[in-house]
């Protein structure tokens, strides 16, 4: 139980995938222009990340390891991620048209989120168990969600600010991301098992 909580705290705050490991920066910069889009993106990412980290763990443990196909890890994980993204898209469309309307355009974007592949690869690298892998994926998604929602709220405020013209838009957003990263340095050293 304790190690699962530590995994959650570790992935959400201490080793945040966006601000400390610098993974998943494209959706972080791209879909953070307004709060609702950021919220929808983080929900969809949370679902896909948890699903794909479970699926890639099973694939690695029961297919790649017995067949000694470890060198196919990256490409097979990409396949798993693409499939789970497609699966999510179809499921959402069938089950909830409302959710599809909110998340629709974001779901295919997740396939290119490098945090998803990063989680799958890190899980294998750190030789985690099934439950730990799922929690790691879920924690990474929660960390992504926390950071992108806070960032979107900041960007909405910056849009109304009197920023010097050369720094408007992406420039000030990137600098803000850097400042957030500085702030997250404060978590270093926490949640060590």
């Amino acid at each position: 139980m304790t190690d699962l909580i530590l995994i959650l705290v570790g992935t959400v705050l201490v080793n945040n995938f966006v601000l400390v490991r610098f993974l998943g920066l494209c959706p972080f910069m791209g879909v953070s222009r307004n709060l609702e889009a950021a919220f929808g993106m983080s929900l969809a990412t949370a679902f896909v990340l948890t699903l794909s980290s479970a699926a890639s763990y099973l694939l690695h443990q029961y297919v790649l390891v017995p067949l000694e196909l470890g060198y196919l890890r990256t490409i097979s994980f990409i396949l798993v991620i693409a499939v789970s993204v497609q699966f999510t898209e179809i499921m959402v469309r069938r089950l909830s048209p409302l959710l599809d309307q909110v998340l629709g355009i974001f779901i295919p974007l997740i396939a290119t989120n490098c945090a998803v592949l990063g989680v799958a690869l890190l899980n294998v690298q750190q030789a985690k168990g099934f439950v730990q892998s799922v929690f790691y994926g879920f924690g990474a998604a929660m960390g992504f969600a926390l950071v992108i929602v806070l960032f979107a709220a900041i960007r909405e405020r910056i849009d109304a600010a009197d920023v010097p013209r050369p720094f408007r838009g992406t420039a000030i957003a990137l600098m803000t991301a850097g400042m957030m990263s500085l702030a997250f340095m404060g978590f270093s050293g926490m949640a060590r098992p």
Binding site: L35, V149, L150, F151, A153, I154, E156, R157, I158, A161, D162, V163, P164, F167, I172, M175, T176, M179, M180, L182, A183, F184, M185, G186, F187, S188, G189, M190, A191
Partner: protein, 352 residues
């Protein structure tokens, strides 16, 4: 003969930025004097250098942005940033460290975000965190507080000036002689070495609560803060939130096991707790706006200070705590928007 006509109100309270900032600076004077008494004159030089670079940065940015330079310099906001940076840095700090913190704070954290009134992050804390990460060595050398019972050496006025300008101590005075682990450092390393808090606290350096020297500087900072509260320049929500956020977790864990956790009194009166509660977190620009939001904001800062001090790898967490809550401020404001007067009636009317 002409009589001047006066309309009500006859007493107009002065609430312009300059007078508020000036009173904040006055409130820090007793604490600066206490700092000089316990830690030597270094803070005065830090103050001069920080003020110089903050004002220069402010003037340069205003000039580049083609805004009135004079007005920006006259509102004293850059001086308050400089004063907080000077307080945050150790009393022996080479000038380039102070200059980096000041310029980063004013140019990047303040003016690139649009200047006074728009900065998302507290400029002083942003500058401090940058030098804390860029010059960790220089920021770890805290001079020992003045005390009667331990044989300790301290640099003279000239030696302090020389160190501030060149970063070199005189050859007969090593860092081991003039600097000491701060109480926060001692408690953190002591607790991780399985010593009990009482054992660590027996050292005369630890003073009564927060370490000799430190607790008195904290007391004078708090005094200035209470003066600001009485003058209604800051409001009570943020200081109360910060202190509660620090006291509740530390008090609870101390109550559970007094051996492996430091006392809440120690955390309250050491490091920059008081400076944060009354002077840093209360920055009206980067803090949350609604009263409820301010309580949440302050509580978050207090709790993060405790978390960094207790479990993090940095000795004091004030700067990180403030930046972390700064980045949560827009979200807090979004979630704690106060209800508009008459809104409930309107909703009811709409439903009918």
């Amino acid at each position: 003969m002409e009589f001047q006509r006066h309309d009500a109100p006859f007493f107009t309270p002065r609430t312009d930025v300059a007078s508020i900032m000036r009173q904040v600076l006055y409130a820090l004077i007793p604490a600066v004097l206490a700092h000089v008494w316990f830690f030597g004159p270094g803070i005065l030089f830090n103050l001069i250098i920080a003020a110089l670079f903050c004002l220069a940065g402010e003037a340069a940015m205003m000039k580049i942005r083609r805004r009135p330079v004079q007005a920006a310099l006259a509102d004293y906001s850059a001086m308050v940033t400089a004063a907080i940076i000077a307080f945050a840095l150790p009393s022996l700090t080479p000038w380039w460290v102070t200059a980096t913190a000041s310029l980063f704070g004013i140019v990047v954290a303040k003016h690139l975000y649009g200047g006074l009134g728009f900065n998302v992050f507290n400029p002083a804390m942003a500058g401090y965190v940058v030098v804390l990460i860029a010059f960790p060595m220089d920021l770890n050398l805290w001079t020992a507080p003045r005390m009667g019972d331990i044989d300790y050496q301290y640099p003279t006025l000239l030696e302090t000036i020389r160190y501030t300008l060149t970063g070199v101590l005189p050859s007969d005075l090593g860092f081991d002689a003039v600097s000491r682990a701060t109480p926060l450092d001692q408690v953190k390393s002591g607790l991780s070495n399985m010593r009990t808090f009482d054992e660590i606290h027996n050292n005369p350096m630890m003073g009564h609560f927060g370490g000799r020297g430190w607790e008195w500087v904290s007391n004078f900072v708090a005094l200035g803060g209470i003066w600001l509260l009485l003058k209604k320049i800051i409001r009570w929500q943020i200081p109360l939130g910060v202190l509660a956020g620090l006291l509740i977790p530390s008090g609870f864990l101390y109550w559970v096991d007094a051996g492996v956790h430091a006392s809440p009194g120690f955390y309250l009166f050491s490091g920059a707790t008081m400076l944060c509660a009354f002077f840093v977190a209360t920055d009206p620009v980067s803090a949350a706006t609604s009263p409820k939001g301010r309580l949440i904001y302050g509580f978050g800062i207090g709790f993060m200070i405790y978390a960094v001090r207790r479990w993090g790898s940095y000795a004091d967490g004030v700067a990180f705590a403030v930046l972390l809550m700064n980045l949560a401020t827009p979200a807090i404001d979004y979630l704690t928007r106060p209800r508009i007067v008459g809104h409930r009636k309107l909703e009811k009317w709409r439903q009918e």
